[in-house]
């Protein structure tokens, strides 16, 4: 598990890699929290390296989604979502809510 955050002009690009089960989802939550604490509410998550996302990680994602969109100050957008991760997000009923893009470039450019 590894998470890299890059500050771009218009948003933060967060690249989580590996398995996010209930043990490691706290790190994902901390990465999302760090951007929001810095006053950055426009977040792009490059999901291409995510092997697994448990319900705990989905809760962290939903928490950030709600907080970023409050008062229209931002959004959480996903890029390059692997098919299995899409399936999990569909089951959780959040796939249709979150904006997704085929590439990180498109997601960053959408802000």
């Amino acid at each position: 598990m590894e998470i890299r955050t890059t500050h771009l002009k218009r948003c933060d690009l967060i690249e989580p890699k590996g398995r996010f089960d209930s043990s490691t989802s706290a790190d994902l939550e901390a990465a999302l929290r760090a951007s929001m604490d810095a006053g950055i509410y426009r977040l792009v998550l490059d999901m291409s390296g995510v092997e697994y996302l448990s319900s705990a990680a989905i809760r962290a994602l939903v928490m950030a989604y709600k907080e970023c969109r409050r008062w229209n100050r931002g959004d959480v957008r996903l890029a390059a979502v692997p098919e299995r991760i899409q399936h999990v997000l569909e089951l959780a009923g959040i796939w249709s809510l979150i904006q997704t893009f085929d590439t990180t470039t498109l997601a960053v450019g959408s802000f």
Binding site: R19, D21, S22, S23, Y52, S54, S55, A56, I58, R59, V62, Y65, K66, R84, H87, V88, L91, A92, G93, I94, L97
Partner: protein, 152 residues
């Protein structure tokens, strides 16, 4: 993996993994279950579904049955029964009543979504059958099955 971890395999091809009730063991549990599911001849998407259901079940045991206590035992047992892959997970924690967990409101606006219940929901969605049995005094057992050549 903790020192307690042990893997055993009998001639009936029943494999068992026993680990301490710590979230840091979830990756080892996933590796164990994925390996056995793959051996049964499942495709990779089905292997993923099974390991996810097991991950959520073991997370519930660690967080709820043992309430975060790290010195409990989680036992995971896998075998093939006819055309099904069977996983039985047992613990010695507090009895768990799955009917007391409200279903997550998947269709509700995101602001009204509850935080809990998603793990159990995933288990039921991903597996063909999920059956709970509470122990008399303590402990729980859950048996989950998935058709080896099913479609999802």
């Amino acid at each position: 993996m903790s020192a307690l971890a042990s893997v055993s395999s009998t001639d009936d091809a029943v494999s068992e993994l026993c680990v301490r009730s710590q979230a840091s063991n979830l990756a080892s549990i996933a590796e164990f279950v994925s390996g056995r599911a793959r051996q049964s001849g499942m495709d990779e998407n089905t292997v993923f579904d099974v390991q996810m259901a097991v991950d959520e079940a073991c997370t519930n045991i660690i967080e709820h049955a043992y309430a975060g206590r790290g010195d409990g035992e989680v036992r995971i047992c896998c075998y093939v029964r006819d055309a099904d892959f069977v996983v039985r997970i047992s613990d010695d924690g507090m009895p768990f009543d799955p009917d007391a967990v409200p279903e997550p409101r998947i269709g509700a606006p995101i602001e009204e979504r509850d935080i809990g219940g998603l793990g159990l929901f995933f288990m039921r969605q991903l597996m063909d059958r999920v059956e709970f049995r509470a122990g008399d005094l303590s402990g729980n057992m859950v048996e989950m099955t998935k058709a080896i050549r099913g479609r999802r």
